[in-house]
Amino acid sequence: MLLVDGDPDRAAAVREGLEASGCEVVGLLADLFDLVARVRACGADVLVCALDDPSRDAIEAMALLNRNEPRPVVLFAQSGGEAQIEAALEAGVAAYVIEGLAPARVRPVMEVAIRRFRAHEALKRELSETRATLAERKIIERAKGHLMRGRRLTEAEAHATLRRMAMDRGQRLVEAARGLLPNDAPTQREI
């Protein structure tokens, strides 16, 4: 099996899952340029590919031009029901098989890949949410500091002022805080 994924963390997670379920992963590919040569050289039966990977058009070109080369299977629907296709799409995984391989043998591979893709995405989302919360808290603190200095308020007064502004404008606290800060103040980037 050959894994094609431009996201190295996710690829590593998917590889580990596939190997734990008894698949042999013969290669991992993130490089666009020697894709065709590597696919030919590696002797894989199945290619598992990220749905949005830029290499997909190259893999399809191989499939279209030479029947002995990888053929898309899951998203090409001769195997797997609608539910599995949707699960694959949602998780962001596409698969290609060498012609002649029974679709039934691809299904367990896909199931592992789908689970791994999903778990990885959930992890990424959680991380970015945590980061966002942290960043928002910093903005609010900075706006309070701004109010305390500018209007000579205590921290509690500054907090109350900010809350009132947010309520009056129907904004979230962080939006009101952002409105108070000068435009050149570092906001989101600085984490």
């Binding site: 949005d52 990977d53 290499s55 058009d57 399809e60 998203l75 629907a77 799409l89 596409a94």
Partner: protein
Amino acid sequence: MDLSSPALLTASLSIGYVPLTDAAVLVVAEDLGFFARHGLRVALSPAASWAGLRDRVAYGALDAAHMLYPMPIAAALGLVGPAMPLTVAAGLGRNGNTIVLSTALAQEMGDAPMPLAALRFAEVARGRNLRLAVVHPVSSHNYLLRHWLESGVLDPDRDVTMSVLPPPAMPAALASGAIDGFCVGEPWGSAAVLAGAGRAVVASGDIWPDHPEKVFVFRASAAAAEPQAAIAATAAIIAAARWLDEPANHPQAAAILARHAFPSLDLAAITPGLGGWVPEPDGGTRRLSHPLSFREALPPHMAHAAFWLSCMRRGGHLPAQIDQAQALAPWNNDLFLRAASALGEPLHAPTPLPTESAA
């Protein structure tokens, strides 16, 4: 239907595109509020590959998308990817691709003025198995490049090695020496020239003048379920193409494209393609005889689709037996005709097909 009363309609559509200058109609329609003015809420998203875009349309994650003109044929026949009926709503552009060769190779060709003669290219290229890249197998890029090579008496399957790379990867691939040349839609050709990687030698409009290039398509079931929304979206596309037809709007269009589609590119790479120019390595620009244009490309024409179908057959992309009516079914032009008549948009005549030698 009365398109002047958009308040009557509120619908949401998800639309996808590949970051190319000929997605301008979609990007501008969203940014300048043409979709909103026609009562639509649109979520517009870029995709990294044509295959990914098509699959998202097939399985309902997108309702409509920017596509290469021959792609709905491949989808109708299930050649690669899921077999699915699509409905072509409008053309999104004509011309707009360039063949760019590495700086060294262009020098060997004698830095001749555009368009480089295919016979001259063949003199230098014969016996060297040069590596040329296109963006997708089922694309005008592939078929027009193959035709150009054949007109120089080169066999595209034997005398060169053709490969597929995504458009944004082309400039780096050329600069690194991984390929010797490519055919790609703007702004990626201009970006490669400005990066010092190569020189544009032929425009796709030199091979087939004013060739149809991209289409705006709906998943047939999505258009059938919400015909009013599909017509309204098509009307917004027509409005955006009219706006892009004004050269005075191009600087703003370039800025909009830069913001949404090409965050990594300089405006200098985006502007030339919109105006029908291509940058030269010496810092000058060259005017293309058949520039990218939007408005004349709007009406979908089944004759154009039939021509691309014949190219697919010549390229060996079709099985022996196909149902031609099924292959061309996406070009039922009902959506376009209804939107065009509501806006009083004239039906521009189809571009003549290439002469016998090209077919």
